[in-house]
Symmetry: C2
Subunit: 463 residues, 2 copies
C-alpha cells in the first residue's frame, strides 16, 4: 500500500471546499415521502460523479430514480458504492436552525456541527465519499479500485424499488463488494462496525366503519357513540391483541423462525458488552431506561436478535385545537415490523393478516409497502477485515456488532448480487430521523480519510 | 290566547328578510375552539337584541363572553332564552360549498337548504328566534312574556365558563322557565321533544416517555423500539383496559350510580318505540348497524340510559405523507364521558384517575376540561306541556324522549337557577358537527311560527 499521508494532507488543505460540497448536498431538500427536491438532488449526485471523470446516469424506476455511475480505474478489483440521496420529512418538527439551511453551529457542546436534515443520514457521508475520491485522484492521478455507484432515492421509503433496479441491472452492478459509508463513531469517539441489518416490513392499518357498524363516510356526533360502534375503539382493542404489555409480539407463530444467536454471535455479544455503554444509548435518545431490566450481552441480545412491531404514528378523529365531540369514521396507524434471521417478509405479512382474521378484524385495511429481509456478514469475511484494518489505521479499535437494530436493503448485495458488503467510516453525527439531525464538522474530515484508507485496504484483498 | 294567524302571515310576508338574517348569522364564523370570529358574532347577537328594543350586554367571562339581554314587556311571566353563538371547527372537512358561505342549495333531494356550519347547531334557530320575536312585536306591538337572553360562546367547548356566569348572575337570570330553540323535526317531519340531556366530561389523555421509559422529548428512530418502550403501545394497552370490546366501560364501580329507568321512563320508552324509526338514525349517520342486536325500547334504553366513553380523536407520531420509521415520544387522545342520572362529573373523574393508577399509568396526563351533569324534566311539567301544545297547534304529534344522547348544560337551569326548561321548535336540519351541516329553508319558516306559538303557550301557564 502506498503511503496515504499526501492524500490526507490534501483533505486537510482542501477541507473548506469539501465542507462546502457537503453543505450543498444537505441544503438541497430531497424528501422522498413528499417528493420535494428529488430531481434536483439526483442531478447534484450525478454531477458529482461526472466531476470525478466518471460516467453517470439517472436511471428511472417505478419510483424515484437511482443515480448510477462508474469510474473505470483499470484496476483488478471493483467496489460498488451504495448510498441514498433521499431524507426523512421534517414536517411538524421543531428545529434550532432551518432544517435545510446548511448552518454550522456549536450544537450542545459538541463543537462545530452541521445541523441539517440528512447531515448524517446519509448525505453527509455521501458528499464526504465524493470528497475522498476527489482527493485520491488529485494526489495519485487515479483510484486504487474501479468504482461503481448506486445511489438510491427511496431508502426512507423502505427502498421500495431498489429490488426492481438491482434485479434489472445485475450485470452493471457486478463488483467484488459493496460499501455503504456512514459516520460510525459514537459520541465518545468509538467506531462502531455493524455486520448486518434487520429486515423491515412497513404497513398502514386502517379501521373504518362498514358492514360491522360504525360511521362509514364521515365522523358523526360523539353522542351517537351510545349505540353506534367506534372504529377507534375497535382499532385499539385490535392493536392491543398484537403485543403483550411488554411489547412482545402476540401474533401466533411469530417467533417460529427467529434464529437464536449462534456461538459466533454470542462471542460478538460478549466482546461487545465489554465496551458497550448503555448509558450513552439512553442519553443520545433522551430516554431514562430500557424496556428490559437487563444489562450487557443480555440487553444487547434483545436489541439485536428480536423482531419488533413498532407504531410510527396513529391518527384518527379530531386532534386539532379545542374540543370536538366526534365519533370518527376511521383511524389509521402507520406501523412496521423489523425482521431478524431467519424471518421472511412474506411470512410476516401472512401471519399478521391471519392474526387480523383470527381476532375478527379481517375487514381492516392493511396497506403493505415493499419490505425486505435482513442481511448479515461474518466478522471473518475479508471485506469485514478490510474495514477493521481501515479503522485500526487511525489507532482506533472498532466495536463490532453482529447487526444493527435498523434496516437497509443489503440483502440485495448478499442474496441478489451475491457480493460481500460492509458499512463504516469514521466521523460522528446523530438525531437521525429527528429534529436537529447533526454531523460534527471535524468528523466529516476524519470520515473522508477513513474512506480513503478503506479503498486501499479493499484494493489489497487477495481472495 | 289571541289568534296568531296575523303573526304567521307576517312571517310569511317577511320571510325573505328573515332568511337573510339567518344567513348573516351563519356566515359569520364563530369557532370557539379556534377563537375565530367570536367578537364579531357576539356583536351581531347583541345588536339583534337592541333591534328588538331590548337592552343587551356582552359580558366577559374567563372564556368567551356571554351575550346577555332583556326585553321587559310588562308581563307577569318571564322566559329566559338560552342559546349559543359558537360553532364547531371545520378544519379537515370536505364541504360541497364553503362552510361559511351561507349558500342555499337543493341538498341531496331535501329541497332548498342552507348549507353552512351552524345552520342547525345552533345559529339557524338562534336567528330564527329573533325573527319570531320581531314578528310578534311588529304585529302586536309587544310580547306575551318578558324575555331574557343568555347566549353563550362556549357550548362547543362544553360550556366551560357558563357555570361561572350563571352563578354570578343568578338574580339577573331569574325567570319562570328557560327555552332553547332547536329544529326538532326529523327527516320524516316528526317533531322530537327531548326532556333532558346527558352530562359530559371532556378530557385529553397524554402518554409520553418518562421515568418509566420511552423517548421523553422527541420521536427517535423506530429501530430503537427493540429495547426502548413505546408511549404509543403503552397508551393503546392502557386504553384497551378502559372498555370491553363491546365498548362497555370497564372502569371499577363506573356503573354504581347509573339509575335504571323508572316506570315513567319505561312508559316513555315504549311509547317512543312505536314511532321510533331506527333505520332513519342509521341512514342519517351513514351507519349500517347499531352496536347492539336490539330493537325498540331495548335499543332506546341503551342509547338513553347508559354512559359512554368516547374517543373524539387520537394522534401521535408520524401521520403525514410517506413512511417514517419513528418511535414517538407521545400520543394524545381527546375523549369524553357522557353521564346519565345519577352520575356526577367529579365522581367520574375520580374513578377514571383511580383506574389509571390501578393499571400502573398514574403518570399519564389527564387534562380535564370543565364538564357538567345531566338534567331532565318530567313530561308532565307545565313547560313540557306548553311545548307539546305548541307543536300540536301545527297538527303534529311530538315524539317524546326521556332525554337525548347529547349534552347541554341545562343543570344550570334545573339545579342552579331552579327553573323548568324545555327545548324544541319545528324545522329540520342535520349533519351537525359534520361537513355539510344544513337546515331546510322551509323548516326555518315553520320554526319561527312554532316559537311564536310556544311564547303564547308559555305565557298562558298558570302555576
Amino acid at each position: 500500500m502506498p503511503p496515504l499521508k499526501p492524500i490526507f494532507d490534501h483533505i486537510d488543505k482542501r477541507f473548506h471546499q469539501h465542507l462546502e460540497k457537503v453543505r450543498t448536498f444537505v441544503r438541497q431538500p430531497s424528501i422522498s415521502g413528499e417528493g420535494t427536491g428529488m430531481a434536483e438532488m439526483a442531478e447534484l449526485v450525478a454531477g458529482a460523479i461526472l466531476e470525478l471523470g466518471g460516467r453517470s446516469e439517472i436511471v428511472p424506476t417505478s419510483g424515484w430514480p437511482v443515480v448510477y455511475g462508474e469510474i473505470n480505474a483499470g484496476k483488478p478489483r471493483t467496489l460498488l458504492l451504495y448510498g441514498m440521496y433521499d431524507v426523512q420529512p421534517v414536517v411538524g418538527e421543531d428545529w434550532i436552525v432551518p432544517p435545510f439551511g446548511g448552518e454550522i453551529v456549536d450544537y450542545e457542546g459538541r463543537g462545530l456541527c452541521l445541523v441539517n436534515r440528512g447531515a448524517t443520514n446519509q448525505k453527509g457521508p455521501l458528499a464526504g465519499m465524493f470528497n475522498a475520491l476527489e482527493s485520491v485522484k488529485a494526489v495519485t492521478g487515479g483510484l486504487p479500485v474501479n468504482v461503481k455507484f448506486m445511489i438510491e432515492g427511496e431508502e426512507e421509503l423502505g427502498s421500495r424499488h431498489l429490488p426492481e433496479f438491482v434485479n434489472r441491472h445485475r450485470d452493471r452492478l457486478a463488483a467484488d463488494g459493496t460499501y455503504f459509508g456512514v459516520f460510525s463513531q459514537n459520541a465518545k469517539g468509538k467506531p462502531i462496525l455493524y455486520l448486518g441489518v434487520k429486515g423491515i416490513v412497513f404497513f398502514e392499518l386502517v379501521s373504518r366503519g362498514g358492514a360491522w357498524g360504525g360511521p362509514t363516510t364521515r365522523g358523526i356526533h360523539g353522542s351517537q357513540g351510545a349505540w353506534i360502534a367506534s372504529p377507534v375503539w375497535r382499532m385499539l382493542h385490535a392493536m392491543a391483541t398484537m403485543t403483550e404489555p411488554d411489547e412482545r409480539i402476540a401474533i401466533e407463530g411469530f417467533y417460529d423462525n427467529v434464529k437464536p444467536p449462534e456461538a459466533e454471535d454470542e462471542k460478538l455479544l460478549s466482546d461487545l458488552a465489554k465496551t458497550f455503554d448503555p448509558e450513552l444509548v439512553l442519553r443520545e435518545n433522551d430516554v431514562r431506561r430500557f424496556r428490559y431490566d437487563l444489562a450487557g450481552a443480555d440487553l444487547l441480545r434483545r436489541y439485536l436478535f428480536e423482531p419488533i412491531l413498532n407504531i410510527d404514528g396513529i391518527a384518527g378523529g379530531h386532534y386539532g385545537a379545542g374540543s370536538k365531540t366526534l365519533l370518527p369514521h376511521e383511524v389509521r396507524a402507520k406501523m412496521h415490523f423489523r425482521l431478524v434471521p431467519d424471518m421472511e417478509p412474506q411470512e410476516v405479512r401472512s401471519k399478521f393478516l391471519a392474526h387480523l382474521e383470527k381476532i375478527g378484524c379481517g375487514d381492516f385495511e392493511a396497506h403493505f409497502e415493499e419490505g425486505y429481509p435482513w442481511a448479515v456478514m461474518s466478522p471473518s469475511a475479508p471485506i469485514s477485515q478490510a474495514m477493521i484494518r481501515a479503522i485500526r489505521a487511525f489507532d482506533l479499535e472498532p466495536q463490532v456488532w453482529p447487526n444493527i437494530g435498523g434496516s437497509a436493503p443489503f440483502y440485495l448485495f448478499s442474496r441478489v448480487l451475491k457480493q460481500p458488503f460492509t458499512m463504516g467510516g469514521l466521523g460522528h453525527g446523530g438525531r437521525v430521523h429527528s429534529p436537529n439531525e447533526f454531523a460534527v464538522v471535524d468528523g466529516i474530515r476524519l470520515y473522508e480519510k477513513s474512506v480513503v484508507q478503506f479503498l486501499y485496504e479493499f484494493a489489497g484483498i487477495r481472495e
